[in-house]
Symmetry: C2
Subunit: 192 residues, 2 copies
Amino acid sequence: MARAKEFDREVVLERAMEFFWAQGYEAASMRDLLDAMQIGRQSLYDTFGDKHSLFLASLGHYYEMGVGSVVAQLSAPDGGLSAIEDYFDGMARRMTTKPYRSCLLINSAIELAPHDPEVAKIVNRFVKNLRKGFAKALEVAESKGEAHVDDIDAVSWHLTNSAMGLGPMSKARVPYKDLKLVSEQILKNIRA
Amino acid sequence: MARAKEFDREVVLERAMEFFWAQGYEAASMRDLLDAMQIGRQSLYDTFGDKHSLFLASLGHYYEMGVGSVVAQLSAPDGGLSAIEDYFDGMARRMTTKPYRSCLLINSAIELAPHDPEVAKIVNRFVKNLRKGFAKALEVAESKGEAHVDDIDAVSWHLTNSAMGLGPMSKARVPYKDLKLVSEQILKNIRA
DNA sequence: TCCGTTATGGACCGAGTGGTCCAGAATGTT
DNA sequence: AACATTCTGGACCACTCGGTCCATAACGGA
C-alpha cells in the first residue's frame, strides 16, 4: 500500500452535489467544480470518472441524503395528512428561503432527462416513489378518518404533480406567501 | 435602397424558437441554430444580435404565438370550467405526444431564470398572467353556477401550480394516462 | 533506509464555443 | 450601364470546454 487519499469521498461528493444543485449541469464547468470541491484535477477523474459520472453520483447522493428520507416520512405509519402537510410546507419554505434552490431532481428532469436516458430513469423512479409515498400517506389518513379519498390513484398523482409544480414556481420567483396558499389549498382538497 | 433580405424574420424566428424549445438554451449551439434557421451567420447577427437576444426574441415569439392565445381563452366570457378543462387536457395531451416537449417558459424558468434576470422577469410575468386567467375562468364558472369557489386567490394559485407541474411530469416520462388522472382530479376539486 | 505505489497539480490537448471580419455577389436607384 | 448599398457565407479569432499526461511529492511496507 501507499499514500492515502487526502480527502473524504463523501465530503467532496457533497460539495459537487451542492454545486450542481446551484448551477445546473451544463453551467457547472469542471474548473469551477474543482474549485468548489477543493480537490485536484486528477484526483477527481481517478475517483469519479468523467463529468457525467460525477453528476450521476451527485444525484444518487442527493437522493440518499435528502429526498429519500423526506419521501420515507410520507410513508410513516403515524403520518397521514400531517405528513403530506409537512411535505408541502417544507418544500415551499425551503425553496423560498436562503439559497433559493428548488429540487435537484426536478431541475434535472427539465434540463437533462430529455437527452439523457440514465438521468431520465432516475427521475422517473423518483416520481414513482413520490407517488407511492403520497398513496401510502393517503391510506393512513383514510384509516385515521382524516380524509375520504375515493380514488387514491388519481389523488396521489395529483399530489405528485403539485409537488413538481413547486419547482418552476419558485424559480419564477413566486413568494412564499403564495406558495403557502397553494399548500393549504392542496390540503383543503383532500380533507374530509 | 439595395438588396432585400432573402428571408422572412418571422419564419426564421419561429425556427429558432422551435430549436430552443427542443434543445434548451445552452445545448443549442449557434452553428446548429444556423442550420435549423437556414440562414447565414452574419444575417443572424445583423438581424437578431447575439445568442441571448435571439433567445429573448424566441421567448417573446413563443408567448405571442402560443401561450398568449391559450391564456386568453381562459379569460373568455363563455369559458368557465370548460376553459380550465381544455387548458389542462390540452397541455397534458400536447406534452405526451409527437415531439414530447413541455412548455418553453417552464423550461426557461428552470434552466435560465436563476442566473438570468431578463428571463426571470418574463417567466414571472407569464406566471402572473396565467394565474389571472385562471382567476377569471373561476369567476365565470361561479357566475354560471358550475362551481363554488370560496377563495379564488388560493384556488387560482393552486391551478397555476398544477399547470407548472405538468412540465417536470412529462419530462419524467409520466404517460398521458396518468396526466389525464391529474387533469380530471383538478377539475373534480373545483366542481360544485 | 530504501523501494514501490499512489496521490497530486500544472502543462497540455483537440474540439467546440460565441462572435467578428471581409471579399464578393446581388439588388434598387439613377 | 454604373453606382451605392446591403446581404451573404466562409475564413478566422480568442476563449473555454472536458479530458489526458507526466514529473514530482508523499506515503506505507520491508
